[in-house]
Symmetry: C2
């Protein structure tokens, strides 16, 4: 499994992904699922991937044209005039990669080569944008109503984002929110695992503002994980008490 979240706030974009891949529970590896390309001062583009690892790696390799000699490579993402076209190009590659594998494998491989991709970034002169690309190659864009996308194991970590998100929050608070969401997911699903990759992209900077790999011994992650349990219990006890003997009257 996988868990990746991309979130858009007023001040920019915050992205977090886990690094665990598994084929069964007894075959676990660490693979990066977050990739970025930038032209300092002009554009920054980040993608996070979920789904079949061979498929998502093939998509990223093709983006970087790794089948060519290094000096002949030409990353299409660095040429696309808009983020919309960046998402289109990635969608096209995803669809082609998946349908090629399915053709080669016939019915036997049907449905096994999936991939979902979160695309985030900003190009000079335009707003920061956030997209989710489906295995079929089509995609949707985040909006004020739906300002974040999750892929992979999305459920455990969703309620806190729904409750905690605020478009005007600081980038630091956005990191804190994603840290809590990942902590809840890690506690519940073994197939999502540390280390995590974090990336913060401030609006109009066109470069990575901050990135970090959060490992097992990361003091901030440990502090959040510990204090979130206490904070949740405090929150729980602050709620109105239930009574068997009278209807609740708001007192």
């Amino acid at each position: 499994m996988t868990y990746c979240v991309g979130m858009i706030v007023e001040k920019g974009l915050v992205l977090m992904s886990d690094t665990r891949t598994n084929s069964g529970v007894d075959n676990i590896s660490v693979f990066r699922k977050m990739f970025h390309w930038q032209v300092p001062g002009e554009r920054i583009i980040t993608v996070m991937t979920a789904g079949n690892l061979a498929t998502t790696q093939a998509v990223v390799s093709q983006l970087e044209e790794r089948t060519k000699e290094p000096d002949q490579r030409d990353n299409v993402l660095l040429q696309s005039p808009t983020m919309f076209q960046v998402a289109s190009e990635i969608g096209k590659l995803v669809r082609e990669t998946i349908s090629e594998r399915q053709r080669a494998n016939g019915e036997r491989g049907k449905g096994r080569f999936t991939a979902s991709i979160i695309v985030a970034g900003q190009i000079a002169g335009m707003e920061p944008r956030l997209f989710m690309v489906y295995p079929e190659g089509n995609f949707i864009e985040a909006s004020a109503d739906t300002p974040f996308f999750q892929i992979g194991e999305t459920k455990y970590g969703r309620p806190i984002i729904l409750r905690g998100y605020d478009r005007s929050m600081s980038m630091e608070d956005a990191v804190k929110l994603l840290t809590v969401s990942f902590d809840s997911t890690l506690k519940a699903n073994l197939s999502v695992g540390l280390p995590l990759d974090l990336m913060v992209i401030e609006r109009d900077k066109f470069e990575v503002t901050h990135q970090r790999r959060i490992a097992h011994d990361d003091p901030y992650f440990l502090a959040i994980s510990t204090s979130w349990g206490d904070a949740l219990r405090t929150a729980f006890h602050s709620l109105p008490d239930y009574s068997f003997f009278s209807d609740y009257d708001g007192e």
Copy 2:
């Protein structure tokens, strides 16, 4: 979909279930998923069901021998000497019901007739017990390590139970905890819906201590739903802040 939780605490058993059934999003109905039978002073047995509605209704109807004349009916659950045997009988019925339907439908119906059942109760002279019965008819029992079972849409509401559960909590707090867990689930999955059924079974009472149907306008549910959002935001802001510029040092 469905969401049901059964939880065992020192003081007894607390159970909650939703009532929504759906076949697609445009065909929604309200059906009770919580059923109980009691012999006052001797035993109380409650079951909650998830899965294919025709299958779970067939199991409950057979438990009550509704194919017979009313005065010839003999509920096997009221004769079983132990809760273990109650769970066995239910498991047998589930397996027989499912395999009968599958035989009748052949390959075409394969895998469609599922049912998971939570069984809770107490028989005089023994401890309160909590079981989860699988579609295959086998079952597991709750323990100190795993003191609650969820069936249906289990993920959204799980983190708060993991964090908030305490074996020594009051029955009222147990109700509060399940209310929060259901609120998180309802907010995230349309196919889990109000009204909810709540049942509290105090240890050694052998009857329903408290039951209630929680409807859309239930003041306690509304109070929890509103204040939980605020309490979560307060909890979130009480956590240590993230900083881009220095490693977290626990200050």
